[in-house]
Subunit: 332 residues, 2 copies
């Protein structure tokens, strides 16, 4: 591993938390298994084992360790958070794949839809069992509320994504549901199970919330200006899929009547033609909305770092601060 690789904060987190993450992985594998329905681990294995960054479970472990937690419930909660994340991805597949194939999915896709819905439900129920095992009603309350925010955000996104009336406050609600609610629940429950004070739990919430928002805004911005080699996405995917994200919302808010007609045609009605992406980018440049969006992402990252000041001085606290810098470091 090169110096520059190891210096990424999520990789340093993974190194410090390696032993506990191993326990989390073992628990995930054990609880995915189904005596009665062997298809379940088949469907989930590629998602859970694919080796994503595992950011959410590491947030839970780090929060618990910050307060010197000596028990093992943080392992259960880290697995819980990863199960919820995986279940959400499975259900998103149904929603997104259907849209991409324009109403004509293959039989294979439908089989996947069935599996995605039902195996997602199975993972939710498994996560529910795991969190009950901690015996903490406070933890259950946090995760129940996070689940409601996630589900509500997903429904809101479905209706708001192509509606030009969607403003920055609606965007923020969608982002909280899509990303920030599980980040903040992940850090909160880690602190709660470790006996953090009310003020510290509030700080953990504020950190996870702001980190998640910074992360999602950065993601939405990179869709318009990222390097496809790094991001794995093509520039303008969100535009083509008619998703109203922050750079567009800011441009729509200042649009002339002609510009508004352009957004209505391309986003609301989805009648796109060659050259529309360039026109859209020109409008975003005209109003400086890409730069404004970058400023917003940096502000949320700064807010995340500020929240950390209420937490104990600790190597992991510094790493969480580096992580906040890192999620916006890709923004030019």
């Amino acid at each position: 591993m090169t110096i520059s690789t190891i210096s990424k904060p999520h990789e340093r987190l993974a190194e410090i938390l390696a032993g506990e993450m191993e326990a989390v992985n073992t628990l995930i594998r054990t609880r995915m298994a189904s005596e009665h329905a062997p298809r379940i681990p088949e469907v989930t294995a590629h998602l859970v084992e694919a080796g994503g960054k595992r950011l959410r479970p590491m947030l839970t472990l780090a929060a618990a360790r910050l307060f010197g937690y000596g028990g093992d419930h943080h392992i259960r909660l880290a697995a819980t958070v990863e199960f919820i994340h995986t279940a959400t991805l499975l259900h998103d597949d149904v929603v997104d794949e259907s849209a991409q194939r324009r109403g004509r999915p293959t039989a294979n896709l439908l089989w996947d839809n069935k599996s995605s819905v039902l195996v997602g439900d199975y993972l939710f129920s498994r996560s529910f069992q795991l969190m009950v095992e901690t015996g903490s009603l406070r933890v259950l309350d946090i995760l129940a509320n996070a689940s409601a925010t996630i589900a509500e955000g997903e429904v809101l996104q479905m209706t708001a994504a192509t509606d030009l009336r969607t403003d920055e406050s609606v965007y923020l609600q969608v982002v909280r549901g899509k990303t920030a609610a599980l980040f903040s629940a992940a850090t909160e429950v880690g602190g709660v199970i470790a006996g953090a004070s009310e003020e510290q739990v509030r700080a953990l919430f504020a950190y996870g919330d702001a980190l998640g928002i910074a992360f999602q805004i950065a993601d939405d911005l990179l869709d318009y200006q990222g390097d496809s080699k790094t991001t794995g996405k093509n520039v303008g995917d969100d535009f083509r899929e008619r998703k109203l994200t922050l750079p567009v919302i800011k441009a729509v808010a200042q649009a002339t009547p002609d510009e508004r007609a352009f957004w209505e045609r391309t986003i609301e009605k989805g009648r796109q033609q060659d050259g529309d992406l360039d026109l859209a980018l020109n409008l975003m440049r005209k109003y400086g909305t890409l730069e404004e969006t970058r400023t917003d992402a940096l502000a949320w990252a700064a807010k995340a770092k500020t929240a950390l000041t209420a937490l104990p001085d600790h190597e992991l606290r510094d790493l969480l601060g580096d992580l906040a810098d890192y999620v916006v470091s890709r923004l030019s």
Copy 2:
């Protein structure tokens, strides 16, 4: 209302529990509402308001009342149970509708799929918040385990329904997931919240479990011999949809090689032709499997009634006994 109508036990239950059911309905309407996503009540209203029998929430209320419960958590739990039931129906829609349309759903159907998945998730999360409000870890444990049984049963059904190796024990697991797990959780949590003894809680579980199994076996049998005016289904729907239910499983178990080839063609491969339903019915009559299935349903109903003997002598206990008789009374 005529005498014969009012004598149906679920209608008498509804009459006795009318005040509490009104409170349950109010709570359901309040908790379905979403400030941020008005589409949610739109999608759920027709399901929740359509006026099904509301058997599951009534089971919870009745179980709590049997033990003279004076609090209001049973209202929350009854709403919880109805939310879980509705969420399951929404997710089943995705799974079933997709299959029926043979891989070519309309755009409208896909929009429904999106709504069904996400609004189902929203209702699950709302039910989760409601149960946490009771503050009872025991209740949470029961509902977490029931959720896992339901989800596992659904996945198992997806793979087992057209597989001729499916035997009676697999069928029973599917039925527990599909129906009995929520019935038994409904009665159990009613008793737990009312402070029933361990023995009584076990009896409530046994009653709900056996009632749910009797109910589902009766439903599967009526598919082959019911009056379509009463059942709202056409005779043989399950056969045409290649669902292995108990009367067929029993016939497959005794099939000659030729008969087995028939079942392989019609159920496993789904290559059905005119006259196949009659042939299938003849095979079921040959081995007396419709009669055997009826005997099984009656035995489960009897088991449900036996479980009630461990519960306090009470008007509602007698009604629960009548209910067990009623679910199998339609079987000729």
